[in-house]
Amino acid sequence: MTHAHRNRLDRRTLLKSAAASTVGLLAAPMVARAENKSIKIGMSTILSGRVAQLGTSSRNAVMMEVEKVNAAGGLAGRQIEMVIRDSKGQPQEAARLSRELVNSDGCEILIDAEASSGAFAVHEVARDLGMLTLHTNSETSSLSADPKLRLPNAFRVCRQGVHDCIVGGAYAAKVAKAKNLTKWMTTSPDYAYGRDTTAEYMSYVTHFNPDVEVVGEAWPKLFQPDYTEVLTKILQTKPQALYSCLWGGDVTAFIDQGNIYALFGQVETFAVNMADYTALTAVKNLPKGIHSGNRYIKTFPNTPENAAWGDAYRAKYNEYPTNWAWENASAIHFLTAAAKKASSADGAKLAEVMKGLTIASPFGADGNITLRAEDQTMTGYAIGWGTTIPTEPYVTDMTTGDWKQIFELEAEWKKKKNYA
């Protein structure tokens, strides 16, 4: 009886075991696939409209770096699959796409390659979904500096306005002292970036050189086609120096139109966004001697690594990279290093090890860049100012920014803004 019972039990056990084994055998490849399946990274950027070239270069740079990562085995063994969408530069569209990339496309990491207006919208999506998010283009300082906005899962992997302003201000003040330029005027695009950056830049110029006085301002609209009224106002105001953070097609139109008034021979011009290949190669008659911060040029930092990266990009896409390109490439560099350190591609684990992570980079001032732990923003990237020449390398006599000075003044700025 017992034996018979045991036999019956054995048969049941056998059947159960067989069923379990069958399920197990069928499920095993799925488990294996889950462990090795590709990881989707979602990216919204601007692929149409007037800023499309920057968005396209962001996509190009990411794809170039992802190819390298995948060829080397992927992100912690998982091949990266990029899902890239066009926000057309509209913040609400950037937010909608980011949400969709996670909820519908199954992306596990987000790259927010938007301008500032879009970045703040995507930041709220990151807050809501808790997804690891890398802001790769927004330079508005508050995005990472304001503690109220800070998220454990969001990082800024790009320049920050205040860093550029400190370096630019110190450089401009030095030139102003040497050439006795006391009367300054500004002309920048009339939106948050233009207003904030100009105010910060000029505050550092006057910080380093109290003799400087702003005698006039002009605020053209973003993407304004005609700068005649701005140019005539500048001629009327007769400043000795001019600061502008016009960018892209706006700065080239301004230069082209300023040329016919011979403006740049009369006024010492500081155009922070001039030294990017998009602008440098588009202007047909680039004046000599315009002061500009580096956006992306392959000769600054003047290292073989940076030159090689710029040349590789050009060889692949038949054009030079942009400021947004190097920033997005850096995002992939950080992800790769973090995955190696965490031995995982899990977003939360990556976020944990990314805080304070320092990596070797072609774009580093000393060959390294860091995601500073305290505010999860990139530091250590090369910042410099030089003057334009009409032919390659387009910008020469670069003066390198001092990160020690940047950190000191940034800390003061944070206190002033109640961010510290």
Binding site: G49, G249, D256
Partner: protein, 300 residues
């Protein structure tokens, strides 16, 4: 508001010359675009939202022609003619099908083609902005007239725009073709009854509008960034000019464009944060005083 700067400027001949030249150049380019727009509306009663796209195409045609020929004269003529052909084809194939239909249908067709033309530009010339560069003949220092700064290129642009405007006025007011066009604007059925092919006439008017927008694009190309969608901003300003001048009035477009140019130029000194607002304020004041615009005719 910086009325002191404006007052200082108005007391200085140099400043008046500089600002007036700036106002003239803004106004003349606006006039060329607005003249085509108002002509098409006057005759065809179509609010041509694609007109900004014609301006954009003119600028891009200019870029290519200049790169190929190196001649700026050929560039202006070629860009004008090429845009006129686009206008003609567009009218014959598409706009001619919506004459007399609901205005929303006309707007829909026009808006659809704004998007199509933008995409065509992206496909042909790329998404990135382009710069044509200044022709060598104009790469010269500015002139100083009564102490004011006057770029020779702008003198050229103003001169060409004036010649084109005068020629247009002569054609419309002093030729048989012009009389027919004006008659068609007033009573198309009667014109058709007299044996005139109104379809051909309408195509011609659209081509003329395209020609003017093409000229404007070519004249602006050396100093403006060329981007897909660049026609939109000038379209808005051209509509303002058209409304102020009176829908359908070329003389009105000329006067309004000049007024807008000067308001922008001097307004940027006295009201630096309200320059655009001044333009709209002027429009509101004109419409309160004359609801049909400065030279518009009462609608029967």
């Amino acid at each position: 508001m910086d009325l002191a700067t404006l007052a200082t400027c108005l007391s200085s001949t140099a400043c008046i010359v500089t600002q007036s030249t700036g106002g003239l150049i803004i106004g003349m380019l606006l006039f060329l675009v607005a003249a085509g727009l108002t002509l098409i509306f006057g005759v065809l009663k179509v609010v041509n939202f694609t007109h900004g796209s014609f301006y954009m195409l003119g600028a891009y045609f200019a870029l290519t022609i200049y790169q190929v020929t190196g001649s700026y004269t050929l560039t202006i003529l070629g860009a004008g003619v090429a845009t006129a052909i686009v206008g003609l084809v567009f009218e014959r194939l598409f706009i001619s099908r919506v004459y007399g239909q609901n205005v929303l249908m006309q707007l829909l067709v026009c808006y659809g083609f704004v998007l199509i033309f933008d995409d065509l530009v992206k496909i042909i010339w790329g998404v990135e902005f382009k710069s044509m560069g200044m022709p060598p003949a104009f790469q010269v220092p500015p002139l100083f007239i009564a102490g004011g700064v006057v770029p020779p290129f702008y003198l050229f642009v103003v001169g060409v725009a004036l010649v084109i405007g005068l020629a247009l006025w002569l054609v419309i007011e002093r030729t048989r073709l012009g009389k027919t066009v004006r008659a068609a604007a007033y009573n198309p059925s009667m014109v058709a009854a007299l044996g005139i092919n109104t379809g051909y006439l309408y195509g011609l008017v659209f081509a003329l509008g395209g020609l003017l927008a093409g000229f404007a694009g070519a004249l602006a190309a050396p100093v403006r960034s060329l981007t897909p969608g660049m026609g939109f901003s000038i379209l808005i300003e051209s509509f303002i000019v058209t409304v102020i001048g009176g829908m359908g009035s070329i003389v009105g477009a000329f006067v309004a464009a000049l007024a807008i140019g000067l308001i922008r130029s001097f307004g940027s000194l006295g009201f630096p944060l309200f320059t655009d607002g001044l333009m709209y304020l002027f429009m509101v004041l004109v419409l309160i005083a004359r609801p049909t615009g400065l030279f518009g005719k009462e609608i029967a």
